[in-house]
């Protein structure tokens, strides 16, 4: 049987997205216990959209079910690794995370507010920055690379204990300037393809770019286990990848620009539940 390869310019959909997309009314409940909000009214500052939806709602049913059970969710292996690291003593000060924080559950609620203003540091802090500050200042240990396995595992653990909490990131006060910068980046076109985050994630979510079902680009599910990498992926890593894919020069992972973008993008999800670590394609 002969098939013609399709080109972007010439075709209509051969596959009906509806055939494989998930039931729009499907609810995300983890372990039969944690109920998550995956669709809700857009926050006030987001005047161009009425409804915000988690990336979960854009995935096929097969992918969606992986997130509903902590055993099936491949990301949870990494959370377990981080739990071990949490209790392990490290660094010259002979401390572990547990020495000050007791158990990981003590950080419940934190992820829902991140990234946030750190008064002492005078800037917006992400989870990675808090972890490394503890490691270098209080544990006197080496900092972890932003995208290192250890850091991704730890941010996954920190996120996991806040699952179900409502994302509520501050956009006023001392963070305003950073937030405005993030918003500026979000709406700027980058690269040879001149695409901004908004081009795909605000103007074209639910459409397909080649075979990718475009989401709204929410980050409530990060760090996320991507089936593609078969590993956790951080927010900045994804931002970097997206801008690289516009055939542009992306900002660096951990840069002030990406911290600003993270703050802005997180605030677009105010109202959704913390889902991370989620499972995505």
């Amino acid at each position: 049987m002969k098939f013609k390869t399709m080109t972007a310019a010439a075709t209509l959909a051969l596959m009906t997205p509806a055939a494989v997309a998930a039931d729009p009314d499907a609810k995300l409940v983890i372990n039969g216990q944690i109920e998550l909000t995956t669709e809700t009214e857009a926050p006030e500052h987001l005047d161009r959209m009425r409804t915000i939806r988690s990336g979960w709602t854009f995935r096929t049913e097969d992918t969606q079910v992986l997130q509903m059970d902590d055993f099936d969710n491949p990301a949870m292996i990494y959370v377990d690794e981080a739990r071990d690291a949490w209790y392990a003593t490290e660094g010259a000060a002979d401390q572990s995370c547990a020495s000050c924080h007791e158990d990981p559950e003590s950080l419940e609620g934190l992820r829902a507010q991140l990234p946030k203003w750190n008064e002492e540091a005078g800037k917006v802090y992400t989870a990675e920055m808090y972890v490394n500050e503890c490691r270098t200042e209080r544990m006197e240990a080496e900092p972890w690379g932003w995208d290192s396995q250890e850091m991704k595992n730890m941010t996954a653990l920190i996120s996991s204990v806040s699952r179900g909490e409502t994302v509520d990131v501050q956009i006023d006060g001392p963070v305003r300037e950073t937030w405005e910068r993030g918003k500026e980046i979000y709406y700027s076109r980058y690269g040879q393809l001149e695409l901004s985050c908004a081009t795909c994630h605000e103007d074209n979510y639910d459409n397909y770019i080649r075979a990718d079902h475009l989401s709204q680009g929410q980050i409530n599910g990060f760090p996320t286990y991507r089936l593609k990498q078969a590993n956790l992926v951080s927010m900045h890593n994804r931002f970097n990848g997206c801008i690289r894919d516009t055939r542009g020069v992306p900002y660096e992972v951990g840069s002030d620009d990406f911290v600003a973008l993270e703050l802005y993008v997180a605030s677009r999800g105010n109202g959704l539940s913390v889902e991370g670590p989620a499972v995505r394609n």
Partner: protein, 108 residues
Amino acid sequence: MANVRPRVRTPRSASAGEVVSIKTLISHPMESGQRKDSQGNTIPRQIINRFTCDFNGESVLDVTMEPAISTNPYFEFEVKIPESGDFQFTWYDDDGSVYEDTKTVEVS
């Protein structure tokens, strides 16, 4: 190999003869031997090539695994539990390592 961690989900109790569902997972990259590194050299294959599940010494499942099994191999299967006893799960790595996990089930 570092950080190879098995996990299994088994029931804590069952009735005699009950058929229950078991889930198993092991964190392992399952390096297929198809990938190349940045220098263009092929990254050698290293996978879990076999998984077995026994209950009180009797076989439940024996899987021959190939590089096409995804990273962090996952299996779900059913077992008929005749009596109280122990599950023995074993994963065999290409490099000769053997990873194990055991779980007990009480039959009321």
